[in-house]
């Protein structure tokens, strides 16, 4: 099992969700986050005083998936979240050691 974590531009969330639903992904977790990469944040100006905030609002998506689906999930996110501009985000793939559905106690692939 793999955990796909993607940091994307907030306005891309709907497209990514549709792309993943098309693959048969059953669920995902979405978090509003802030951070920076090579984009180096943004500047705010109040009455002429400039503040570099360094932190840009992003969306973090977490999707747990079976091993055979993982590559297609990554591909779908990469394509649907892409604008070609700086700040499009990153995708990370981690191994999952165990998964348990709390309601039934089922484990691993069945629990996804």
């Amino acid at each position: 099992m793999k955990l796909v974590i993607a940091i994307i531009k907030p306005f891309k969330l709907d497209e990514v969700r549709e792309a993943l639903s098309g693959l048969g992904v059953q669920g995902m977790t979405v978090t509003e986050v802030k951070g920076f990469g090579r984009q180096k944040g943004q500047t705010e100006i109040y009455r002429g005083a400039e503040y570099s905030t360094n932190m840009v609002p992003k969306i973090k998506i977490e999707v747990a998936t079976t091993d055979d689906l993982a590559a297609r999930v990554v591909e779908a996110v990469q394509q649907s979240a892409n604008t070609g501009a700086i700040g499009d985000g990153k995708i990370f793939v981690l191994d999952i050691a165990q998964a348990v559905r709390i309601r039934t106690g089922e484990t691993d692939d069945v629990a996804l």
Partner: protein
């Protein structure tokens, strides 16, 4: 012709007659029948008075509070409320008589009135004060209350430069001293018959000199003496809620009609002129600030709009009844440009921490307005001046009044801050400053979530 002069003269005469009335005079007066206040004028002045209160609570509180950081929101609101409340009490104890009481001795007359109306002695519901029109009066209590709100908002305006680091106790001590040695004398000098600037013929319809230059210069001196906030200008000190600042801006604009149109002291054409000028100068200044931001390479910002509104209101204050609508439009636009330069360029270059730009907008906008009033008063520019209006001479008078007010306010503020420091220590501890004055000075939080 100054209305406030006339009213002061009227009130002064009233007091003098009360003191020196001879039986023969009394009989004569009774025969002449004293003028009775018009209910329309009285109603408008009562509405104007509470409109100015709305400028303070909650207008200025929200405007300034939104510009502060969230950890200091309540402290800003409490400082404004506390200073304004104190101003109201000392106004009726000795402020009114100092500013608008009976004539003092010849040598003191240019600076203050005498103390015969201490604790409003002799004022009754039947007492009246003159307006700008012969034979038209309003109840003296209404005039006292209207002027009381001016004292209250002026001292509150000063606080914009010192918030987020001054002790609450220091604010109250400062307010007491400052009102006594700066506000009451300046109000007398500009608005009362016999006052220094009044006799010079300085034009100040609703308080450009008395309120805005006075408060703005005092704010600059106070923030320099107090020192910068910890972290200024390196840390992010962005406004915590421009939404609230926008709400405050709206309340200030609405309340300002009481301030400006109320300063006609009657519900008449002069009040109507002040009203339309307060609309158009402000609209012009709000739009102009956005244009200036664009010209300097920035986006037109919400705070820019709000700042322009205040700059326009400040600039039109001395000109409200002393300008035509198109003179007011120009005045508002010029005020936006100059205030922007002071706020965005001069302040960072000089490095003083005028936290909420009390000097940059009220002080500078007030100066633009006071000096500009000497121009837009001209009948050739649509102003209400007479055909014999001498612009050069009027400008000299306006500049002299501005400079004298700057000097008076600067010295008086230095004394008031010095005394506040002796009595209270002036500044909160670094721990309290970093944690926020809401908890450190008042034991509450503005926002619990």
């Amino acid at each position: 012709m100054k209305l406030s002069n006339k009213i002061a003269t009227g009130l002064g005469t009233l007091a003098v007659t009360a003191l020196t009335a001879m039986p023969a005079w009394a009989q004569e007066a009774a025969e002449a029948a004293a003028p009775v206040p018009n209910k329309g004028d009285t109603a408008w002045m009562m509405v104007s008075t509470v409109l100015v209160l709305a400028m303070i609570l909650p207008g200025l509180q929200l405007f300034y509070g939104g510009l502060a950081r969230s950890k200091n929101m309540l402290s800003v609101m409490t400082q404004i409320g506390g200073a304004a409340a104190l101003a109201m009490i000392i106004w009726v104890i000795y402020g009114y008589t100092m500013a608008f009481g009976p004539d003092a001795s010849e040598s003191l007359k240019p600076f203050i009135s005498n103390f015969d109306k201490l604790f409003l002695a002799g004022v009754t519901p039947d007492s009246t004060g003159a307006t700008f029109t012969d034979g038209v009066v309003i109840p003296e209590y209404v005039f006292i209350a209207f002027q009381m709100t001016f004292a209250a908002i002026t001292v509150a305006l000063v606080l914009g430069s010192v918030v987020e680091r001054i002790k609450f106790s220091a604010v109250l001590v400062f307010a007491l001293i400052w009102l006594t040695i700066v506000y009451f004398p300046v109000a007398h000098m500009v608005w009362a018959a016999g006052g220094l600037f009044f006799e010079m013929g300085a034009l100040d319809f609703a308080g450009g000199t008395v309120v805005h230059i006075n408060a703005g210069v005092s704010a600059l001196v106070a923030c320099i003496m107090l020192g910068k906030r910890i972290g200024y200008p390196k840390e992010v000190m962005a406004p915590h809620s421009l939404t609230l600042t926008f709400v405050g801006t709206g309340l200030l604009w609405v309340g300002w009609f009481g301030f400006n149109a109320g300063s006609a002291l009657e519900a008449n054409g002069s009040a109507a002129l002040a009203m339309i000028n307060t609309f158009v100068a402000t609209a012009s200044a709000a739009l102009a600030w956005l244009v200036v931001e664009k010209l300097f390479g920035h986006k037109p910002s919400a705070l820019g709009f709000c700042s322009g509104v205040i700059a326009g209101l400040v600039a039109v204050t001395p000109a409200a009844g002393n300008s035509g609508p198109f003179g007011a439009i120009v005045l508002g636009a010029v005020a936006s440009l100059v205030c922007y330069i002071f706020v965005a360029k001069v302040k960072p270059a000089l490095g003083y921490d005028d936290s909420l730009d009390a000097f940059g907008i009220h002080g500078i906008g007030g100066m633009i307005g006071a000096i500009g009033t000497g121009i837009v008063y001209a009948p050739s520019l649509g102003g209400p001046g007479g055909a014999d209006f001498d612009m050069g001479g009027q400008l000299v008078t306006q500049v002299l009044a501005v400079v004298a007010t700057i000097v008076w306010a600067a010295i008086g503020t230095a004394i008031a801050i010095f005394i506040a420091k002796l009595v209270t220590g002036l500044r909160v501890s670094p721990e309290v400053e970093v944690e926020g004055l809401d908890l450190g000075e008042h034991g509450e939080r503005a926002y619990n979530s």
